[in-house]
Symmetry: C2
Subunit: 635 residues, 2 copies
């Protein structure tokens, strides 16, 4: 039996089989509802108010995640409650992903054009009875005379050749891909119409760039939330969804392609170019996003030893993927080093020029997984570290994504007064990644917590609760958007941030030791990723998320994955460089690395139990130095 | 409004829009109905008896083509009568194409295997945390170690790679196409499962061969009528249909592919191989059939100067054409020299080894268009000549295809008694090509007609009518299948045969003169084509269809187009040879060749007005030598 679920306030209706979850109905009807843990009931972010209708009994997860007063009012977790009849629910503001602040631009070094797509104008002699040479040979002969020999026309171009040549009066422009394949033939001289697309497929966001391939200029850039988010906000959730079967893999693939096509169409509309003149698309993403885009089987990405299915750079005929560019065009995906260091990391390196640096540089692309790359022109070491979704607001009591009303900056005075700034200066709804890092750093400096992360402030009006439930009120409820609940930093929140930053620092420190570098060798830190752009480097250094070097040596490049994709779109040399970087880069799998365990545990302290690594930072910390150094015996 | 047409005796029903022709309804419902002239009303072969229902008024063509007594009984031409309501018609035996005698086999010289498709068995080391190399690189590395470097996997193989490698326990067989592309990966060792398909797309018939590519053995061969016949029996009719629009082109293309797939499936069933192990299909056909198979725009084939759209050999991914072999497999089509000398002619040359002959040889592939090739290892000249559909039974009063009951051999004694043989020794239904050639040759030798083709026999009981309607009764009606009408040779029939054979000889003689050869240079005649197999060489020589050389120097190779396709399937060297033949062969367009006009007119006499070309033949002719030599002034 089918049941109807009505979502308020938007009034959207979704008809789904009895027994479906409310989350399923929300996904079906496109209702914006947080789904961070992908329906497992862990994150507790999908709370909805049930106004009417029958549902399955409360689950243990619901009893644990929903506050008692809300439970009493009939609130449920959308991912846990199964429908037993027609239902009406209200989606509270806090349960929505909201308008996300999307940073799609990133720094891009100058690139000398060396396109994969060329356009050549030819004038043919029409056939006569004395010269009845076939159309294909006539065209190939003319192209060979212009220096383009050994070509083969794509099948769909070949089929249309007789018609197009005659319609054009034997004067036509031929588009050549990779000096090998004819992918278009157009009447007249259309040499100036040659465009390409660069795509960065982030786990959270999707960015699409249109580039004029005749001069390399960016003519359109836009982004959206990765529409795959409906299948779970983290990579593992999506791998789990995609490995359920062929149908699910196709569904999640066509979801991302649908999003890309939507942005391409928008760009084509705004720039008034012909989508047929988009001949190439270069895509980057982490290995999982890359594989889901291509439609690769990805079960192995989720299983130790996590090898990538597709490691080398790869080219695919665009019509095989239903990409909304010329159907004979080319889709190029950059190489993946490993299951968790993917094409986006290669793009980061290209755009940050890490592989050209004279001195040792740390490059981190901060996200749910943080790719850590350490090196210079002499070689690059890399690893991926599960920094977790805490920076995206998950597992944080008042956490939220970097959307409207999120607290993004926090200061705590020695008197424990708090000042803060929200995104778009709206009333505070919650706290996002950069705000959390600030809050923890400020709590440490002001003595709310000690270097072990433990709450030490006693008897202050901002401090409530006991033990793990202890919390520091950042913003009183009357200042918030709902006016109902304080925005707080809890003991558990601090633990989450400690784990996240320890993972990142642990990755860095492991690479340093594996490669044999010393603290002073490090000359520069480059933070990539849309998220990274908003972090206060001082706070990041205070909590020990990044090593201690002068702040002027820390820079933020923004979405360099997108920059790297554009660079490879414009230049075959950059594609070659990308493959070379991939082939030469060393990968350390932290899961089997005892050094990582040691460094991770030491980095659980703030800034670190190795105080000698942070001589400047420790001077600014008010509370006691509560640290214990850990060295694993077997190392 | 839709109307229903019911066809008797089979009882098939077809619902079609009011105003459709009966022929359209027959095509729609798959009723077997002759359609030689493609609905123009010329051939008069689609006579049906209307039992019930309303139709459009009689057309001029119908009044001309339907005998008065049948007109009176309500017989109509199916292609001319438009439906004005529900109709019931009966399709007489004579209006059906019938069970066609299909010759699909042809002589094939031995070929050294040099396959385009190779299978390689590899055992990979499973990935570990210490060696997490990506699946694609792991596979490519193992293949490179076996000497297969620089490969790229087809997109659909790449996508499945992680699953297949794990399922196979890292022991798999990789199929490599053209030493470049991985087109399959299978668990375990499947090296012995490697098959291919050769296809000969004749205008009339379709032949499909399955070949074991590990040893070159033919494992299945079968044929059927080319299902495109429903769009007209000759090439021009089909070009006309296909050039109506994209829809029609796709329809006629999918019709031939449907036929090929049907035969492939039959072969797969009978041989119990896996269609996934069919990796390559090599197809030949005349230029029009070739282009319709590929789905090429072919309007230009019907317009002077008739250039081919696709001249070079061409490879197409099988899934792009919906061919029922492995979707990553390859479809290879042989080159076409010109609009009317196509891939089938190149295949004929390969199979007949014309390009290796020491002495001058004439190769003719006899059909509605006859390809004439003259040459040796020193070079080949070629032309195509419109020998017309007379040999297929069209434009011949009692003509029919080589189907059950067709008269295929005829002798006329000096007393004008007639002996004959029918196909499958059934009662005579009509006369097919080889029978017509015999009949004309025997009529000439016995003195029924003179060398100009004129009826000269007077006052004999077998001779009826006057002038152009004069006819010689070959078989009295009481001996025929219907018992209703005599089977005759008419004055007009003789004229049709004269035109057909003059076209063929004219082509040969033009090539001889253009190439500068003399009569005695010709050492051998090879007749190819399914039809050619049944011609009596003596009769062909008597009427001057072929030049006079000793009969032991005339051979029939059967369907060499199919043989050539098989050779190219087995050997890349043969494909190279095919392209070389195509590149080197000279083509003479007879339409602009004054010599052809002269030779054609002289060849309208039987054997020829140049009696010195047929010294032996003329001795056997009883009637007077009524010839007049023609020499075009300007030549």
């Amino acid at each position: 039996m089918d049941c109807e679920v009505r979502f308020l306030p938007e009034g959207k209706r979704s008809t789904v089989p009895e027994g479906s979850t409310i989350m399923f109905a929300a996904i079906e009807s496109g209702v914006d509802l947080s789904n961070i843990c992908s329906g497992k009931g862990y994150c507790g972010k999908c709370i909805v108010e049930v106004l009417n209708g029958e549902l399955s009994p409360l689950t243990d997860q619901e009893k644990k995640r929903i506050p008692p007063e809300k439970l009493a009012k009939g609130y449920r977790l959308a991912c846990q409650a199964h429908i037993a009849g027609d239902v009406v629910v209200r989606v509270p503001d806090q349960s929505r992903a909201g308008r996300q602040r999307l940073v799609i631009m990133g720094k891009e070094p100058p690139v000398t054009l060396k396109q994969n797509v060329e356009k050549v104008y030819v004038e043919l002699v029409a056939p006569t009875l004395q010269d009845p040479m076939a159309d294909d040979e006539r065209l190939l002969r003319a192209l060979a005379e212009k220096g383009y020999g050994g070509l083969k026309a794509d099948f769909i171009i070949t089929k249309e050749l007789p018609k197009v040549l005659r319609k054009s009066g034997w004067k036509a422009t031929v588009t050549i891909l990779g000096k090998k394949e004819i992918v278009n033939i157009q009447a007249g001289d259309t040499k100036t119409q040659n465009f390409g697309v660069a795509v960065d497929i982030g786990t959270t966001k999707l960015a699409v760039f249109l580039v004029d391939l005749t001069d390399g200029n960016l003519i359109f850039a836009d982004g959206m939330m990765n529409p795959q988010i409906r299948y779970g906000e983290d990579v593992i959730s999506r791998i789990n969804f995609a490995t359920q079967g062929e149908k699910e893999l196709k569904e999640i693939q066509s979801t991302i392609i649908g999003g890309i096509n939507e942005l391409i169409c928008k760009g084509v509309g705004e720039t008034a170019i012909d989508a047929q003149d988009l001949y190439e698309l270069v895509a980057v993403g982490n290995t999982a996003m890359h594989h889901l885009f291509v439609g690769m089987q990805i079960k192995s990405l989720g299983l130790c030893p996590y090898p990538a299915g597709l490691g080398r750079a790869y080219d695919i005929k665009s019509r095989e993927m239903n990409i909304a560019i010329n159907p004979s065009g080319n889709v190029h995906v950059l190489p993946n080093l490993a299951g968790f260091v993917g094409a986006d990391a290669i793009a980061d390196i290209l755009a940050s020029r890490l592989h050209e640096k004279e001195k040792l540089t740390l490059l981190m692309d901060v996200g749910t997984n943080t790719e850590v790359m350490l090196g210079s022109r002499d070689g690059i070491w890399s690893c991926s570290t599960a920094s977790g979704p805490a920076f995206e607001g998950a597992h944080i009591k008042c956490g939220m994504r970097a959307a409207t009303g999120a607290v993004e900056k926090v200061k705590i005075t020695p008197e424990f007064d708090v000042t803060y700034k929200t995104i778009e200066d709206e009333k505070a709804r919650g706290i996002c990644g950069s705000g959390i890092i600030d809050a923890v750093a400020e709590a440490l400096k002001s003595g709310v917590i000690d270097t072990s992360g433990k709450f030490i402030l006693q008897g202050h009006k901002r401090v409530k609760g006991e033990g793990a439930a202890k919390e520091f009120i950042l913003i009183y409820k009357d200042e918030t958007s709902t006016g109902k609940e304080d925005i707080v930093l809890t003991q558990d929140d601090v633990r989450e941030i400690q784990k996240a930053k320890a993972a990142m620092y642990g990755g860095y420190a492991t690479l340093m030791r594996k490669a044999g570098f010393k603290k002073d060798d490090l000359n520069e830190i480059v933070i990539a990723g849309a998220f990274g752009n908003y972090i206060d480097p001082s706070s990041a250094r205070t909590i020990g998320m990044i090593p201690e070097i002068p702040l002027e040596k820390v820079s933020f490049l923004g979405n360099t994955a997108g920059s790297g994709a554009r660079m490879c779109l414009k230049s075959l040399d950059k594609r070659r460089e990308a493959q070379e970087i991939n082939d030469k880069m060393k990968y350390i799998e932290l899961a089997v690395e005892p050094i990582f365990e040691e460094e991770y545990i030491n980095a659980m302290y703030m800034p670190n139990s190795r105080l000698e690594e942070y001589p400047e930072t420790v001077k600014g910390i008010r509370g006691p130095m509560n640290v214990r150094r850990y060295v694993r015996r077997s190392v």
